[in-house]
Amino acid sequence: MQIAALATYRPTWADARGRRTLGSDEDVATLAVSAGRLLGGRLTSVQRVVLVTRRPDALLGTAPEVVLEGLGLDPSTPLVEQIGGAPATLETLLGSAEGTLVLAVDPVAPAASAAALVGPGGITLDGRAGARHSVPVRTVPLPGATDLTYDDPRLLREGGWKRVVRELAGSAEGERHLVIAGVTAADAAKIARGASGVAETEAAAPLLLLARLAGSRSPARLVAVENGHGVAVDVTVAGAVPVLAAERSAHPAPVTWAPSVAADIPASPAAYARAFEAKVGLKAGVCSCGELNYPPRAQCQSCGVLEPQRLQPLPRAATVYSVVTVRANVPGKTVPYSLAVVDVDGTGVRVLAHVTDDPPGAAPIGSPGELVLRRVATRAGVPDYGYAFQPEEQQA
């Protein structure tokens, strides 16, 4: 099979060990969208979506409709949620027909997400081989729960990934470069001279490595491992492959994102459902007079007519019109946070949004940036998605 385009995303925040970690407004759904949207106009060819992650936010998730709406895809597009790590991503790619968008998300540090669009393109994967042994050293019991790790790293290494890589590296001998998804870059370098890996070791790892391979024409053997399970393919790069990457410079994450005063923010799932398409798809109501109304409203705020308005996606580029930073404790909210009213460039539309991916208070009036899909709140235990304003990065 072939890959037509790749995209990778890493969140802005870094934990105490310098590993990228999610902001308080990010989760599997927003990470999937952050990577997928980088493909831009290529998304129009998507026929089917597979979302691969070892760690869904909930076993009965809210992610599918958010991912489809956030990517601007038709909500009837097939979307399959696949639980698994690096091998699952590789198997998904190999089993996908042209027009499939594979989204792989690693929400735990080091966090990343990536997207691959299956279709005629410069990267070819073939020569699949697999291996499977029962070495359940690292397991993830339930969404949100702490990982269980059997206290024997030697067992994981010797009985797990080393054995799997040895069995599957086969054709890497000779001119093929060995790349390993599912172990750290440091571990990968130890197993064979010249082998490489990435810090991210779960579902996104194979795509992060393919994005790296796309830049070179040397053939490679990619092995994806998890515990005692592995899948391998030969990677041949024959032509230019678009690789779109979003990675802002790191900001230290706060010690905790938890609100200092606990409280439940009231929710109305019925109200959320009515607002969903406009709120998660960033769509304005279009009046017959041409005015864009956002949030959509019954009466056009320009010409005053009362008639149904169709929804139309808004551009994402925006500029801060006014901004303030909340520093007092707000029950149920993580403080400080900045709230901005932004002008969506060239539309006459304004959006009230949190400022994200930037230290609160850092983006003054006039700052350019873009609107990005985020989980703006969790209310009564239900995630609530909408748009946040991400200021353009300051040039150092």
């Binding site: 923010i265 009231p266 409203r297 019109y321 006014s322 520093r327 709230l339 909408g386």
Partner: protein, 386 residues
Amino acid sequence: MRDVAMVGAGMIPFGELFDQSIKDMVSGAFAATLASVDKGMPVGDIQAAWFGEVQSVDGFPAGLLADTCGLLDIPVTRVENACATGNDAIRNALYAVGGGYVDVALVVGTDKVRDTSAASTFWDWMSTNRDMAWDLPLGLISPASFALHVARYMHEFGATREHLARVVVKNHRNGARNPYAHLRFEVSMEQVLNAPPVVEPFGLLDCVPQSDGAAGVLLVSRDVVDRYTDKPVWVRGVGTGMDRIMHAHKTDLSSFAATRKAAKQAFAMAGIGPQDIDVAEVHDCFSGVEMMTYEDLGFCDRGEAPRLLEKEETSIGGRIPVNPSGGLKSKGHPPGATGVAQCTELFEQLRGDAVNQVDGARWALAHNVGGPTAVSAITILEGPRG
């Protein structure tokens, strides 16, 4: 429309009134209002009443006023119009008296915010005036809602936090001498500027306290005014202006459109202009709101509000003293009572009885702005010499 006079106005001292129920507060304000009528006011003379209350406490609001004050034989109606409730309740009563339907009307405004913990009721209050799907989850708390306006104003016109602090220092200086004020102390410029931040650009001292309180006024027609006083205060103009609810839909955050509309209505009805006002009670829920409102009321030109503060023109002794009572900032802000209590202060100012008397005041203006900056109510009063 018939001329309408204010013949009585009273209030209870605002504060954290843990020892009083809302019924105690309402009956206290009612008694004070009756007692303020020079020649007395039999309860049986009152023909209709309006009750301003934003958040219901202890149940059914209109019934609470009727039952507590023995007004069981007249119509009683609750008015809720966010922080503009007080002056809007007065407008409702004015229409009834001016329109000839009743000769004597009572307005009582109150709110009790300290019967529940701040954290437990925080989102209940937020839910009363935020869009459930769009704005509520963003945590657009009240100071942030106003600060988005003030930050834009400061950006456009070069106002500073020092200008905002001048409002606070002035209002606390006035409130420190007002026995009805919640926060009866003066503050220094340094204290205001160094207070912990709440929502930048507001620090803790730029924000109103959480106060309980109640106030009342009595409006009567010209036909019967002589029965009650020889020094009536005339209600010459009222206005209630609206704006878009969502900040995303507002056109200009450097101004309060609702205030401009309310002022236009009230001045047109009174047949005067802003230059005629001698004293004003202005909604200073947050320091910068008072500053910006100088322009929306027409007390100065666009962009000149910081100059007014620098020249102390809104201090007592200045060209147009604002908030001689101490304002919401020092006197307190129980939303339903606030506008009514502003008129209590102005009733005294126009009759020459105020604690911080503005000499020779003839025309006075009371102003509220509230909700997500989407409603304003204004009352214009003229003193007895009119």
